[in-house]
Symmetry: C2
């Protein structure tokens, strides 16, 4: 985010900018850069800064845009400019470093967002300008929210989706591989426990395909694929490290946030998720910009469909599938979509390490391994193997199964973990507690949302061993006192806290008494 | 925002909530309530709080919803919950007061906002739920931004506008008057210097009409009508005080923020303005909810039309007018719309006191009084007088002029000021500087946006005497060295700062050299 000196605000309007000194305040505002100035400091008064002014901060040639908070009283000194963690990470510098500030210019591309809100489609130039300003940190969060809202519902057509996807690819890095066929898989809308990536990647890599997979960390859920993988191996690889792993083993499972293949997407998601808005256009641009940047040629996309899943009806799934395929064609990528059952969690564990144990059980062909996780992974791997030319149509499943059953996939995951920096044993929680059925009967409903909340109260994903194990999936016939789930926590306090929450819920499991 | 004890979060799920102590941090985040907790404090860990979590904070039975910032390091103590100014004003309490916290429930009415984004109109129940949650402070700013975006452009129909207006009236107080005819005037989209309210109110009150006028303070401009009136008299009246003034003098000019006749509107505007979005539906609900709550029966609305005004074309103005009239009919209010010239500032002064001096010059019939301000006010007053039955159609202008020329309006403004708490003389700035033309020629363009910015750099509206006086309106023929404007500031630093900005601009005035 360097800019030539003629944009220096002091030169722009000749104003005598007062000197300020950097102070890292240690305030984590999540990803929004915030700056703090004393209300009675001269620069605040002379610039006419107020709470919520958007200001541009310069440290030498580096600069950022931040939202201002005004401080009354002694929290900071008169000549200090306090920085939130996000602001400090973007600007850098040590305490005391000299800074200059000015009003930030209005975001130029917001006029294109307003035009979109008033009904004009986003063209290629507008998409580029918007994505560039987003990546430069010029959008305030309410402006990001307006952008996302304007693109939600059915408001983005195919041409806009393509324009946005292209713009998102253009602002990031793009990988190229020697192989003509580079495969990938993606799941739209996470089901708890649905860690097929950790099975599909070793299966298809063991068959000789190239699969440079990046995954996300949890944002609102108890575990993301990157969090689960991190209990087995380091995931914060940079691009050269990721390339080395893939060139050696054919595949990797890296944290997407570290390689930043589609940096605009990371910034949009931070506002999109808490708003809970769905947009086929944004989702397709988000998914495919990352796949295009990763250099993929063939991608299988899993769309779980269910009442509590992201995609709620087969109709919605088909519309999304058509959009994915059409945008993929535009960029020369072949997309195949697979609809799957999204009605309940997958596997036994919820939480990073507990989900990793499920994955290991499947790879090691343990007798108690969760069969639903195994079957989903085999289906996906089969599609990838056929797309990638490693199996004839109809023979992918047999190949995937043989690679899993023979232990070749398990060897491959160990090799990938070693290449990513060394395999680890997932941690086990020091504190556990079994919740039992209060009366006999059959499990007819499970509240996934509350189970996810319970796993988070127990400490997941920050405490990697925390979470819960489900013992009673839908349809289980239980006697009084039989186990429903086991809570796992790394501290007794967190266990007690999660337990008191669990005991106050009467609808985690709905058990219908047998007549 | 009190709630019965059964909503106490500790009782809701039986969790052992840790005790925290209140700490007012003095951080002004504008109107968004923010709370601060140490990242390593037990409650943060056990509740799974993170930066940006929405949390509910209880002090006894009072409670608020706030956005969490997480603090690393010693800025606050382990057992303290820091509050931003907005959070502290809403929750109250002294440093050290015991507080309890829990995750805030998701905002229930956001589902109606999402439905609107996906294309379903906002019905009466949804409008009520949304407005109630907004007034209860449950919406985060990004959620407010999504709501406003979803209602912008041409996306609200008449039925939705009526539903929203009704909901906004229902959550606030509503005034009733003995008179059947209660008049009001309103200007949509402020032109700098357009202080007709301070003339129309005394003219029509002097004729015996009831006009309980509320006005806003500046949000992004150098002066709001309430800021200008405040240089003449107190404006922060509560409802009983406002009623006393109107019962005694027939009219008042009070700050709307103090009487809170449409509290939802105040909260929406704080996000609407910085986004710069226009929505006929939101604008109509905003204006009319306040007029209905104030008990008005007949309202004249001024819509300035111009390239840099809020409404840019006669077509847009007519559509807005039809919507205003239709919603007015629904609530039994008669609305008359007047389109006016919105191409340049009104009067000489920009800034609270300077605009007040313009008003006084017109009321006192001074020879140098700005005639454009006088004529606009007379036109508006004439319409109000005819609507209110004080003049026959076609005779309103003569009546308004006679009341102004006779000094009756001037006497009435003095009486209103006395009733509001005592008339003041507007302050004069200690520091002034004249900017002169660099070459001869005719003024063919004035950059209103930069002039407004200049007045703010000089200190307006916080420094009420600050701002600028225009000496060269459009069409003025100037000789080299003749004055363009005079800067006014309360401190020499602010004057120097504004001056250096002004001198670096080459387009405040465009002067075409005469051949």
């Amino acid at each position: 985010m360097n800019r030539p000196a003629e944009c220096d605000p002091a030169l722009q309007h000749g104003a005598p900018l007062a000197a300020l000194r950097l102070r890292r305040l240690g305030i984590d505002t999540y990803q929004e850069p915030v700056a703090y100035l004393r209300s009675d400091c001269p620069v605040c008064k002379s610039e006419g800064f107020e709470a919520r002014s958007r200001i541009e901060i310069w440290r030498g040639e580096r600069h950022i845009v931040a939202t201002l908070n005004v401080v009354h009283g002694p929290l900071i000194e008169m000549d200090q400019l306090g920085l939130s963690e996000a602001a400090w990470h973007a600007l850098g510098g040590a305490d005391g470093a000299p800074l200059r500030v000015a009003h930030a210019r209005p975001v130029p591309s917001m006029s294109a967002v307003r035009a979109k809100i008033y009904g004009r489609p986003i063209g290629a130039d507008a998409a580029s300008a918007i994505v560039r300003d987003v990546v430069d940190g010029r959008y305030a969060e309410i402006e990001l929210a307006a952008l996302i809202t304007a693109c939600s519902g059915a408001r983005m057509d195919l041409a806009e989706t393509i324009a946005l996807t292209r713009a998102m690819v253009a602002v990031g890095q793009r990988l190229r591989w020697d192989s003509e066929i580079v495969v990938d898989k993606h799941c739209v809308g996470g089901l708890p426990g649905n860690r097929t990536t950790l099975l599909v990647v070793p299966i298809v890599a063991a068959c000789g395909l190239i699969i440079p997979k990046t995954s996300s960390r949890a944002i609102t859920s108890p575990a993301g694929t990157a969090d689960t993988m991190e209990t087995l191996a380091p995931v914060a690889l940079d691009l050269p490290a990721m390339r080395r792993v893939v060139e050696r083993e054919g595949g990797c499972i890296a944290w997407g946030g570290a390689v930043s293949l589609s940096p605009a997407d990371d910034l949009l998601i931070r506002v999109e998720r808490p708003l809970g808005l769905d947009s086929d256009g944004l989702m397709v641009a988000s998914v495919l910009s990352k796949k295009i940047a990763a250099g993929s040629s063939h991608v299988v996309i899993d769309i779980p469909v269910g009442r509590t899943a992201k995609v709620r009806s087969p109709q919605a799934a088909h519309a999304l599938a058509r959009r994915l395929e059409a945008v993929g064609r535009e960029f020369g990528i072949r997309i195949e979509v697979m609809l799957s059952d999204g009605s309940q969690p997958v596997g036994h564990g919820i939480g990073p390490a507990l989900e990793a144990w499920d994955v290991l059980a499947v790879l090691q062909n343990q007798s108690g391994a969760p069969d639903d996780l195994r079957q989903r992974a085999l289906q996906l791997a089969a599609r990838v193997l056929v797309m990638g030319g490693k199996a004839a149509p109809g023979e992918g499943l047999a190949l995937a199964r043989s690679v899993l059953d023979s232990g070749a996939a398990w060897s491959k995951l160990q090799a990938i973990c070693a290449a990513q920096g060394g395999m680890r044993t997932p941690p086990r929680a020091a504190h556990t507690h079994v919740l039992a059925a209060q009366h006999q009967g059959r499990v007819i409903a499970i509240d996934n949302r509350r189970l996810a909340h319970l796993a988070k109260l127990a400490g997941a994903p920050k405490a990697p061993a925390a979470g819960l194990e489900l013992h009673a999936p839908l349809g289980t016939l239980l006697g009084t006192g039989q186990p429903l789930l086991t809570l796992h926590a790394e501290s007794s306090g967190e266990l007690a806290y999660a337990l008191s929450y669990a005991q106050a819920q009467d609808s985690l499991f709905t058990i219908q008494e047998a007549p």
